[in-house]
Symmetry: C2
Subunit: 235 residues, 2 copies
């Protein structure tokens, strides 16, 4: 936790917060913080700054906070991600929040196992928790937007062209395609398939919607690795 | 497993292998392979090609193999990595093998917890197993070389300059440094610190040895994410 994230209900007055639970435990056990210490803090969706510990017990901590710095800018990037295997999904949420993805659309695909959609990691509380872990790591306060699209065809035909707008649309797919561009200025919409890849029909539909197919070399990457590698290359 | 890796002891004649254990189980359960099917195969450290299943039982599989394609080239990259937390170490080994790192040097650092060096994941069999998992994912046959350097100062003073040779030496560290270069032609030696980063003394010693400090933006990445992001940016 490189940033202690605060939420509106933590505030007991304009510049005072009371913390319990996971954040209190982390301050005591990992930071080994004491009264008088200052920590980097940020308000979820708002500014960052510092928090001075006024008191700290096994039950709660009281901090005086001063918020005056903007969070780092987001990547102007929308990630269309075929719903990954649950354990990997959790880590990808964290990676995306850490790397600054602005928007995530979870998409169905032929090779997404139906059971993946049943995972408790798709519960709003769990999604939020994992995105917050990623923000705490990166020192950011702004949650990526996340949308769930369980029907591939209606989404790609009816909503993707509008979502794409003026952004550069890319679909990552192994094959005889141009290499993924580097250091792109401006907004990008990037589609990454499931383990085993998109099927040909899906690639065709994504191209019809305005995305350009690109590849990342002959090595086959796990989805988790591909997400980070593509974002690093584009960013 | 996108490539079935074979080892010399698997061969019962010049073009026949017998497989048991994990690979047999994977063929049966994941590939749901049957006699007559062909699979991509590769000889560890050697060529890749295809293997036709001659017979397949619960006990063993016999394949006729034909090896005629070279593995993909390695990245001309030596990674100097401060020894990570064991669970992350395992995944980083897999990522490095998948991404094509040629050589890994595990290095001590002030912020590496002593207990990390006690992990069973540092046993040669475990290192090999995780590197093989990464190669199977990427479709590569050549294991990265791995060296362990538990003493920072003697390594950096006495051996690093020679290891560096004519390669571009970089040390990733947050701070007021130039951004990490992109798409570097030629060999690179890249040093990545532990969670919490190198200490100033270590950065100074690495710079003395010929490495240039570079940064990857204001977001703080987990080591695992930083490894993939830096390799993708350099590669």
């Amino acid at each position: 936790m490189n940033l202690l994230l605060l939420d509106e209900p933590d505030f007991v007055s304009a510049d005072r917060v009371l913390l319990r639970g996971r954040r209190l435990q982390h301050m005591r056990e990992i930071h080994q913080a004491n009264p008088g210490d200052s920590l980097r803090v940020g308000l979820i969706g708002g500014l960052m700054g510092s928090g001075r510990i006024l008191s700290l017990t096994a039950q709660q901590a009281e901090l005086e906070v001063s918020l005056d710095q903007p969070p780092p800018p987001k990547l102007p990037l929308t990630l269309l991600l075929a719903m990954p295997r649950p354990k990997m999904f959790r880590r990808i949420l964290q990676h995306c929040a850490t790397l600054g993805v602005a928007q995530i659309v979870l998409l169905n695909s032929y090779r997404v196992e139906k059971s993946f959609w049943q995972t408790p990691f798709l519960q709003p509380d769990s999604i939020r928790e994992n995105l917050l872990l990623g923000l705490e790591q990166a020192r950011d306060t702004v949650l990526p937007e996340l949308h769930i699209e369980k029907r591939f065809k209606p989404f790609v035909e009816d909503r993707l062209p509008e979502l794409l707008g003026d952004s550069l649309g890319l679909v990552a797919h192994p094959g005889d395609y141009p290499p993924c561009p580097r250091a792109v200025d401006g907004a990008v919409t990037l589609a990454i398939g499931p383990e085993g890849g998109w099927i040909a029909y899906e690639v065709d539909k994504l191209i019809e919607a305005g995305l350009q197919p690109v590849q990342l070399g002959e090595r086959i990457l796990r989805v988790e690795t591909a997400v980070t590698a593509l974002l690093a290359r584009l960013g």
